[in-house]
Symmetry: C2
Subunit: 336 residues, 2 copies
Amino acid sequence: MLKKTYRFTNASTDYYFAGSISNLKNIADQKNTVIITDEHVFTAHQKKFKNWNTIVLKPGEEFKVQATVDSVIVQLIEMGADRTTMLVGVGGGVITDLTGYIASIYLRGIHFGFVPTTLLALVDASIGGKNGIDVGVYKNMVGCIRQPKFILQDASFLVTLPDPEWKNGFAEIIKHAAIKDAALFRQLEENSLNVYQKRKQLVGQLIQRNAILKTKVVQADEFEQGDRKLLNFGHTLGHALENQYSLLHGEAVAIGMAFAAKLSEQFSSFKQADRVINLVEKYGLPVSASYDKDKVFTVLQSDKKREANVMNFVLLKSVGKASVQKIPLEQIYNYI
Amino acid sequence: MLKKTYRFTNASTDYYFAGSISNLKNIADQKNTVIITDEHVFTAHQKKFKNWNTIVLKPGEEFKVQATVDSVIVQLIEMGADRTTMLVGVGGGVITDLTGYIASIYLRGIHFGFVPTTLLALVDASIGGKNGIDVGVYKNMVGCIRQPKFILQDASFLVTLPDPEWKNGFAEIIKHAAIKDAALFRQLEENSLNVYQKRKQLVGQLIQRNAILKTKVVQADEFEQGDRKLLNFGHTLGHALENQYSLLHGEAVAIGMAFAAKLSEQFSSFKQADRVINLVEKYGLPVSASYDKDKVFTVLQSDKKREANVMNFVLLKSVGKASVQKIPLEQIYNYI
């Protein structure tokens, strides 16, 4: 296990790379910690939760809503959770988003940490302090930015990870490569999902590289005034599709990246949309979908990145380099 | 109008003393602002809201709950509120608490400002960035600490303020005097509610003195690690009583201060509980109530200031000087 501490604007976060959840008792006080997880993770790894106070939620994005927050808060009150209590989210992005959000508002904020159990959560969702919930079809409409005290990475959870969840994670890994890391992009082109799934050490390196890549972007711009916006590559159309068509987050982002790559050829100097689309397809992710254009556009207009009649859209300049451009909403409407 | 800017940990707040809501259009962009107010304020001052997008809520502490937050968020989405939208809370403490909370979580945080319309909001609730909602009988169980961009004080709203609301405000003014300002305490002893209500200039000075007193406490300790805790004087028993017996906040705090003053004679060196009790009574506030001891104690145990079996209780050392002491819950039970 390798411990590294990263400093953010108001707080610092301890990262434990290549760790194990069995170390959790050395990081969090067992008596004063409440674990939040979901039924999938709890059932598959029951032993790991022995002796921990645990709240088990129903799994899935459809439960990343206020009703779940309400029920957890009532349970925390009943358990007597106070300002010294630590919440630990053990799960995928839904669990880390919910745990971070609940910890940010309960008693006006208590400490929290994460044990991400999916590839997507390991490389993306657990990192950077963004948390929150969906409101109807609108993704992450409500939330905060607040950093966890620690992120404990334990790749042993990946052993039980279903295939679609692996692909889900690779969508964000491809995103990182596309916007920031041309060498990683080439590595992904040379390997395949199957290679990473079989080679433990290689996937360990991949996770650490992506976690650090995202962390550095967040450190430089925690409150998304500049460079952090690039992490939204593929997420504008992606979010508009996701909850309407019950796609996995990675699938929606994959379609969004294919769209944004083509848009980059129109509005930026980008010439390699096909290369992005091929890589997305190589990792078993979709690059298009049939959807109701007007319904999707309506949701897209409520994206957090909209300002009046323009959308701040992330476009590629080249593989490994991205920028934000203001595109009028009507132009976007024409292209979707 | 006097403008003063106070710096907090992550943000600064512009205070406009002796201002007028007619100046709001110079502070906030009318097209991109949503005012949140309640039916009482809106009905009594309808003209002041002309040309502003306004959400009008039902008045009263019983609406400081998640259901209200949910409904405002849906309205903001429908209005197309984006990251550049500013929320302005025009009202008493319930409105400023709700507005600050909603602005803190909508789209992970948008800007907000306050126009406090009650004496209590002017001297206390609008200041310091604490916001939030109640959960069942538990006061402010959920919320954030985030500073407004501005606080615009307009004492003309006090013209329509009902008498009980004046008393409500004086509870917090007496609190400030008791914990931090012996000279103010003497001034309050020499004057009366009636004197302040009649003398506009005197009440203006009183508001400014109290607003600055609280601001300086918050500046020194925004996240309540030390001195800010003193502002909870009277609020431990107060909060436990408030929602169970539908007392006004000031009434509950008044009873809480009388209790804390007596407790200070037991557990601290304080000798002047009677002086505190007399001043509270002079301003028309209650110093005792009949209540169900066990029910109140149950709620009190969920106070944010509890840590395991002890309560961090604010006690007086002398008039104008307070400190936090850990008192075992069982001892508190014996005294209530």
